[in-house]
Symmetry: C2
Subunit: 470 residues, 2 copies
C-alpha cells in the first residue's frame, strides 16, 4: 500500500508541475471549430481528429484516424504492462455543438480565453467542457503516469468520436468493425458532470434520444394573408397546433404509446436522489429562470430530468422572421423536435409513434416531410459493478468528498452501444458543473475541474491497476 500511495503521489506531483502546459494544450484544440452537424466544418472536424492522433503518438500510443461514412473516429491503443493488468477503454468525443447565437458570446467561441474568477479561473470556448476539456482530463492523466513512472499500469484503449453532437450515425458500424480491437475489461466515459465543485459523481443512468425534423408544406409559395387567409391551411398554424398537442395540460406527453415500458426508478434510488440535497435555487440560477414549470406535474426536478421522458422543440422556423411586418401565409414551417428517452422506451417505436401522431394531424392539402437525426436508447449502469467500486476508490485520491452516484438527463449514444456490443460496463465519470453553459454561448470549464479531473483519472488508473483481471 505504501508503494501504491507513493506512486500515486509522484503522479499527482507531475500533474501539478505541468498543469499550465495542460491548459495550453486544451486551448490549442479548442481553437479548432469541429462542429460536426454543419457540413461547412467537415475539414475542421477532421483536423481535430488528427490533432488528437498526434497527441497519442507523442505519448507512445499506436493510433489511427479511422474513416467512417461520416466524420472520422480516433482509435488509440497502448498495451498493458503485464498480462494480469486490466485494459480500460476510454470514450469521449472531439466534435462540438454549433456556436450560435454568436452575438451572445463575450469572446469568440473558438478563441479560448482564461477568465479569472473567485473559483480559480475558467476557460471559455465552445467545447471547453463538452467534450474536449473532459477528453483532456484522461489524456493528461496518461501523460502524468508516463512522466512520473515511465508507464501506465493498465492497458489503455481510446475511442474518440466525431459525431456525438450530430446523432452518432457511424458509431454502430465502427463498433462492429473494431469489436475485437476494442476488447477491454471496462469502459470509462468522461462526458458528464460532478455533483458539485467539491463532490465528484459517477453517473449510472442516462437518457436516450429520438431527434426528428418535421417540415409541414402547404401552398407552393408564400401567399398574401389577405387574399388567402381563411381559405388556405397555414403551415405555421398547423405545425404549432401539432406541437401544442404533444403535451397534455398536466405536462405529460400525449403521443400514444409514448410511456409504454416506462417505470419509476426503485424507491431505493429515489431515496438516494432525495438524500443528495439537490440545490433547486442553484439549478434555476444556472438556467436564469425563476421557476421550474416544465414537464410533468407532481414530480421532483431530479425525477423529471433523470427518469422521465420528454419532448422539446429545439428549433422552429417558418415564414417572415425579419424586422417589422409581412402579411403572408408561409409555404412551409419546420421544427426540430427531440425526445429524451428513459429505460424501457424503444427508440424506433417512439420515432414511429411520433411520426404517426404528426401525420394524423396534417390537414388535407398539406403534407409533412421528416428527417431523422438519430435514435438511441437510455442506459443504466449496474450499481453493483466492481469497477464502480474501483472508480469510487480512485476518485477518493483526488477529492475529499466521496463520489455521488447520480443520474443524468443527457444522452451519450455511444454508451448504450458500447454496453450492448462490447459486453462491458461503462463508468460515467465526468467533471462538468451545472453552470458550464453546455451547448450555450460562453460555454466554460473551471480550471479547478480540469485539474480535479486529471487527478481523478490518475487516481482511477491506480485503483484499476490494483484489480486483478477477471
Amino acid at each position: 500500500m505504501t508503494s501504491t500511495t507513493q506512486t500515486t503521489s509522484k503522479v499527482m506531483d507531475s500533474i501539478e508541475a505541468h498543469f499550465d502546459d495542460s491548459v495550453a494544450r486544451l486551448q490549442a484544440i479548442l481553437r479548432v471549430p469541429s462542429i460536426s452537424t454543419d457540413p461547412a466544418h467537415v475539414d475542421d472536424v477532421r483536423a481535430a481528429a488528427e490533432w488528437f492522433g498526434r497527441e497519442f503518438e507523442h505519448l507512445g500510443f499506436s493510433c489511427e484516424v479511422v474513416d467512417t461514412p461520416g466524420h472520422p473516429m480516433v482509435f488509440a491503443e497502448r498495451k498493458a504492462p503485464s498480462d494480469d493488468a486490466p485494459t480500460v477503454l476510454y470514450y469521449g468525443h472531439y466534435d462540438v455543438q454549433p456556436a450560435d447565437p454568436l452575438d451572445q458570446w463575450n469572446s469568440p467561441p473558438f478563441d479560448p480565453v482564461i477568465v479569472d474568477d473567485a473559483n480559480g479561473g475558467r476557460i471559455v470556448a465552445r467545447g471547453a467542457v463538452d467534450d474536449k476539456g473532459q477528453v483532456m482530463t484522461f489524456i493528461e492523466a496518461f501523460r502524468a503516469w508516463i512522466d512520473a513512472t515511465g508507464d501506465i499500469p493498465v492497458g489503455v484503449k481510446v475511442m474518440l468520436e466525431g459525431e456525438e453532437e450530430s446523432g452518432s450515425e457511424s458509431l454502430e458500424g465502427f463498433l462492429d468493425a473494431f469489436k475485437d480491437r476494442l476488447a477491454a475489461d471496462v469502459c470509462v466515459v468522461s462526458d458528464t458532470g460532478m455533483w458539485n465543485a467539491e463532490t465528484p459523481a459517477i453517473t449510472t443512468m442516462l437518457r436516450g434520444m429520438v431527434y426528428l425534423e418535421a417540415e409541414v408544406r402547404g401552398p407552393g409559395h408564400d401567399l398574401h394573408s389577405g387574399m388567402y387567409g381563411g381559405a388556405i391551411a397555414n403551415p405555421a398554424n398547423v405545425l404549432s397546433r401539432i406541437i401544442g398537442s404533444l403535451h397534455r395540460d398536466d405536462g405529460s406527453v400525449a403521443v400514444p404509446h409514448f410511456y409504454d415500458g416506462v417505470a419509476d426508478p426503485p424507491q431505493r434510488i429515489l431515496d438516494q436522489w432525495r438524500d443528495l440535497g439537490f440545490d433547486e435555487a442553484s439549478f434555476l440560477s444556472s438556467a436564469e429562470i425563476s421557476t421550474a414549470t416544465g414537464g410533468e406535474t407532481g414530480r421532483t426536478i431530479l425525477e423529471r430530468t433523470w427518469s422521465r421522458p420528454t419532448i422539446d422543440v429545439n428549433g422552429i422556423h417558418g415564414g417572415y422572421t425579419g424586422a417589422g411586418a409581412k402579411t403572408i401565409i408561409p409555404a412551409t414551417c419546420s421544427a426540430k423536435i427531440s425526445c429524451r428517452l428513459v429505460p424501457g422506451q424503444d427508440p424506433e417505436r417512439i420515432e414511429a409513434s411520433l411520426k404517426a401522431f404528426i401525420e394524423a394531424a396534417i390537414p388535407e392539402g398539406c403534407s409533412v416531410k421528416f428527417v431523422s437525426h438519430g435514435a438511441n436508447p437510455a442506459v443504466v449502469v449496474p450499481a453493483d459493478s466492481p469497477w464502480l467500486a474501483a472508480a469510487t476508490a480512485g476518485l477518493a485520491e483526488a477529492y475529499d468528498t466521496p463520489a455521488a452516484i447520480i443520474g443524468s438527463g443527457g444522452s451519450i449514444p455511444a454508451v448504450g452501444d458500447i454496453q450492448s456490443k462490447l459486453g462491458i460496463d461503462a463508468l460515467l465519470v465526468g467533471f462538468g458543473l451545472d453552470d458550464d453553459r453546455v451547448h450555450s454561448p460562453n460555454e466554460k470549464f473551471d480550471l479547478r475541474c480540469l485539474r480535479g479531473g486529471i487527478r481523478s483519472h490518475a487516481g482511477m488508473i491506480g485503483a484499476f491497476a490494483d484489480r486483478p483481471r477477471h
Copy 2:
C-alpha cells in the same frame, strides 16, 4: 356626347402610342427597393418617394415629399380646369414588401424583367402590381389626358404612402395635418384586383387588420435539453401551444370576444357573390395547393376570405434552425401573428383580447413581450354611391365586360381613415390578378392589366368630369 366620345378616343390613342414608354417608366421605379418594414432600406424608400415627386412635377402638378415620423408621404395637386369640375383624390403606395425568400425568385426582385407569355407578357419584380404598377396606371392616365387634350378635365390630388406594407403608422397624423388640402369629392384607390383578366372590378368591402409580434422568453440563455428538459418550460413549446389554441377544431377563432359585432353580409350580397361564378380550381392553382382546408367549416371560400375574420401566423422563429441537430431548449421564441378583421370588429379591442389570451397562457417562469405592427378597421363602400355608378361607366370605356362589384380579403389601412377623416367615399378599382404572386417571390403584373388599368383610369376621369360637382 359625340364630343366626349371623340375626346376619350384621342386619350386612348395616346395611351396606345406611348405604352412602351409607360412600361419603361414602371421598370425604372421598380428598380428602387423601397421596403418600408426594413430599416436598412430607409434611404431607398425616400428615393422612391422623390422619384414620384419628379414625375408629378413633369406633369405640371405641384408636389411635396412630406416628412412624417416614419417614411415620407408624396402629396401632388393639379387644380380643376373649371369651378364646376369635381376633384378626385387618388391614393396608392410606393413602398413594397420584403423580397425574401430570395432564392425562390427566377430573376432579381429589383431588376424588373419583361417575360413573354401567352397573355401578352408580364413584368416581374417586387412591387410590380403591389402597388407601383397600379399607381402608374393612374399617373399614365393623367399623362395621356394632358398629351391628348392639353389638360385633365377634373381636379386631381394624389397621396402616395410609404408605409402601407408596414402598418401605416404615420397616416392618421398626415390626414389630420393635410385634411383641408386633401379635400375632394371622391377618392380612388388602385391597390385591389380585377375579377378576372377580362372583367374589371370595384371592391366595396375590405378587411381590416391587427398585427402583433409576440416574443415568449423563458430561461436567460439557450439550455442543454438533456440537463434541463422536463424541468424548464420551453418557450418554443409554450408559444406553439398558444398558437395551436387560437383556433377551435371547426376552424373558428377561440379568442374570447373575437366575434363580437361580426354579422353575416345581407343575403342579397351573398347571392351576388354566388352569381360571380367563383373559379375555385383557379384559386387553388394560384396558391399551388390541392384543397382549401383553412378557416371556418361550412362557409364558402368567398365568405371566408371576404366576410370572416382570421388569425394567421405570418412568421415564427425560435431556437436552432441551421443544418442538422442541436439539442437545446431555446431561451426565446417569437411569432408574427395577424388578424384580418371584418366590419363590426374594433381593432383596439381585438388587439387587447389577443394579448390577454396569450398572456393568460404564459406559464410561471416565462414572460411575453409584444410589439404592435398596426391596427385598422375593415371598411365597406356604399353600393349606392353615385361615384360608383360613374366609375362603372368609366370602366366600360376600357373593358367590354361590365365591372363586378366584389369584396376583398386584403387590408388597405388608408381607406378606412380616408372615409372617416375626409368624409368621402373611396372607390377601390384595381387591376391585379389572382396569380400575381403578391407578397411572394416572382410577383408580376400582366402588361394587359397595366394597359387596361391606364385605359380604365382614363375612362373614369372622363366619366367623373361629366358629373357636376355637388
